[in-house]
């Protein structure tokens, strides 16, 4: 049983946060990871910075630009996970990003390194299952989960396939748009989550991300999903408070705590 499966077994609603690795700097990322876990985060998606993040809105774009200024590479990220594992052996880490940095390192090298450093899964935004065949072989060999996205435009036939190809969990993108957009309506999301659950033969946990900005939104979505993902709101707290690190950590911790306490137990 891997760490991702465990956490979905243990928690009614899994609390997932996203951070751009290296924003505002790599030591702060490590510190935030540990304090997030202390304050109730169950799984961390660690963003791999990339020069051309086509699915990200301005907030995460700025976070990525800061990380790139710090010249954070994929190897640095893997090493950071390994450092995190010195103190934490249970919280799952999923690397999230775009295909090219991984393509550049090579699927084989990436997968074996990721495994040995303590990564649990991979989510590539610009990699639909159709293109994922060869990387999936390497990931599976190393028992790493591959998380795929489903979206409001995904047709039923594809939903079924995406559920089948996903391991660990499925990431449902709540809206048509980029990260940091605002969510308006919960009802259609609920309907889609129920649909995916009905179509999924492997009972893959279904999480929801994009547009969740408040404890209230998190609570509502946790009522019908297996987990919620918050990214832009946290990166925005970094953006606004990064000049005063103590304040930045404090604000993030408070936000994380307030979300955690709102989730369905």
């Amino acid at each position: 049983m891997n760490r991702i499966n465990n956490v979905f077994k243990e928690q009614k609603s899994v609390f997932i946060t996203y951070l751009v690795c290296g924003d505002p700097d790599i030591n702060s990322t490590l510190k935030m990871m540990h304090s997030m876990v202390e304050n109730g985060v169950d799984l961390i998606e660690l963003g791999i910075p990339f020069t051309d993040p086509i699915a990200d809105g301005p907030v995460i774009q700025r976070g990525i630009e800061r990380a790139l200024k710090n010249r954070v590479s994929l190897i640095d990220i893997l090493n950071l996970v390994s450092k995190f594992r010195e103190k934490n052996k249970t919280t799952p880490i999923v690397l999230m990003g775009y295909m090219n940095p991984i393509e550049n390192m090579g699927y084989k090298k990436f997968s074996s390194q990721a495994k040995s450093k303590g990564v649990d899964g991979l989510l590539i935004v610009d990699l639909p299952p159709e293109e994922a065949g060869s990387i999936n072989q390497e990931l599976s060999k190393n028992k790493l989960c591959q998380i795929f996205l489903a979206s409001p435009t995904t047709e039923d036939k594809r939903l079924k396939a995406i559920a089948r190809y996903s391991s660990g969990y499925l990431y449902y993108v709540s809206l048509k748009g980029i990260t940091g957009s605002s969510l308006i309506n919960y009802q259609p999301i609920k309907k889609r989550i129920n649909k995916i659950k009905k179509l999924s033969k492997n009972k893959i946990p279904v999480t929801v991300g994009f547009g969740i900005k408040t404890p209230e939104a998190a609570r509502k979505i946790s009522m019908f999903s297996d987990g919620i993902i918050i990214g832009s709101s946290i990166v925005e707290l970094i953006d606004k408070n990064r000049k005063n690190k103590a304040l930045m950590h404090k604000k993030i911790n408070n936000f994380v705590k307030s979300v955690k306490s709102s989730l369905v137990k």
């Binding site: 991984i102 610009d126 293109e131 995406i162």
Partner: protein, 399 residues
């Protein structure tokens, strides 16, 4: 060389062997498959073809002539230089061939809003024009650096009723405009069609744009035959590669030498260029697998070229494939050599070419000096009016 039927690609997965594909976020998978379905339908439709042909004749001004540049041919040696005059199209470049086709396709799909990215502004102007013609709302994304160097085209787009959005992220050029357009599309998929201007992007774009641009090569064949000539050598500039593939594709299965000319910028060894086929390696950018310019960590590098239209770190996947199977030879020309060719054609033939096109001209002139008795057909992809500001500031011409 292995025997390949070049006309049978891309395959059903949108691949040119290891290149191409659909590397996009999930939200775009549906509109891309809708687009593919709609395109396949209209590509077979006789009435669509007839209507497009009518538009190309009476609105765009096709067929564009092939001109025998006799003065420079004589001066350069024994070859005959022919220019396919895409610069004489309405709006001044080959870009309109694709913009018209895709605007009609969007109309057929019931879309009411068009978005586009643009580098030099030629594709933006062509799209804004087609949108005015077809009563479609038009939004064009353009890097703020490109807006500065191609102001005239920005004015034209605005006059035509398009909204031009300045892109301030990343390197503030074509690649960032493409990123922003993709973000817009993901947000507005229901009513919006994205008219990509080059043979780049995810499948089916490289195929659709190629097909609409292939009119260049098809016409060329007929026109050369009419004057009892056959092209021995084809030359075109390659940024994303749409004018090049438009000329090359109908000739790929024939015995013709083909050259694609990339932007060498300050020189291939300076790192300041836009020549991924010469200096890059295969990677993934903007939805497809192709040659790209990247650093050792897989981050996309910023490029340099005097011509905004070639200033792009990737290239259409079909070109990557044609490079690897050695069907097309990809070479490069520096900013300086392109400028020399720009002046040369202007002064000797009375044709002011676009700076993009000047790259193709520079290489073709070099070939003309070394080859014997060949017919060299160059795609004169666009006219240079848009580059006048750049040139004037270089030459310090005073009124």
């Amino acid at each position: 060389m292995k025997k390949i039927n070049y006309k049978s690609f891309p395959d059903k997965n949108g691949r040119f062997e290891e290149f191409g594909g659909k590397y996009v976020s999930e939200t775009l998978m549906y509109p891309l498959s809708e687009l593919e379905k709609a395109y396949k339908k209209i590509a077979k439709s006789v009435s669509f073809k007839k209507e497009l042909n009518n538009e190309l004749c009476n609105y765009v001004g096709r067929p564009t002539p092939i001109y025998h540049a006799s003065r420079i041919s004589k001066e350069l040696g024994s070859c005959n230089i022919f220019l396919k005059r895409e610069d004489l199209n309405h709006t001044g470049a080959h870009k309109i061939n694709n913009a018209m086709g895709q605007a009609m396709l969007a109309k057929a799909m019931g879309k009411t809003r068009i978005i586009a990215e643009t580098g030099a502004g030629q594709h933006g102007v062509a799209t804004a024009t087609a949108c005015a013609r077809y009563n479609l709302k038009c939004v064009v994304y353009m890097g703020s650096e490109d807006i500065q160097r191609q102001k005239v085209n920005v004015y034209r787009m605005k006059l035509l009723g398009a909204e031009v959005i300045s892109v301030e992220s990343g390197s503030k050029t074509l690649k960032d405009a493409l990123n922003e357009a993709l973000r817009d599309w993901v947000t507005n998929v229901d009513d919006t069609h994205y008219i990509i201007g080059s043979v780049a992007g995810p499948h089916p774009y490289p195929m659709i744009v190629r097909d609409f641009q292939s009119v260049i090569g098809h016409e060329s064949k007929i026109q050369m035959k009419k004057i009892n000539k056959k092209a021995d050598i084809l030359v075109a500039c390659v940024g994303g590669g749409s004018n090049a593939i438009g000329l090359f594709h109908p000739y790929l299965n024939e015995a013709v030498d083909i050259y694609g000319v990339e932007a060498g910028g300050f020189g291939l060894n300076t790192g300041k260029h836009a020549a991924p086929l010469n200096k890059g390696k295969p990677g993934i950018l903007h939805g497809n697998r192709t040659y790209i310019m990247e650093d050792q960590n897989g981050q996309i590098q910023s490029t340099h070229s005097i011509s905004a239209g070639l200033d792009y770190p990737g290239v259409g996947p079909e070109h990557s494939w044609l490079k690897d199977n050695k069907r097309v030879k990809y070479v490069s020309v520096t900013d300086n050599d392109a400028l020399k060719a720009f002046y040369y054609l202007t002064e000797k033939e009375g044709i002011i070419p676009a700076l993009e096109t000047a790259h193709a001209l520079a290489y073709a002139f070099k070939l003309a000096k070394t080859k014997k008795n060949k017919n060299i057909l160059i795609n004169l992809s666009g006219r240079g009016d848009k580059d006048i500001d750049t040139i004037i500031s270089l030459k310090r011409i005073k009124v």
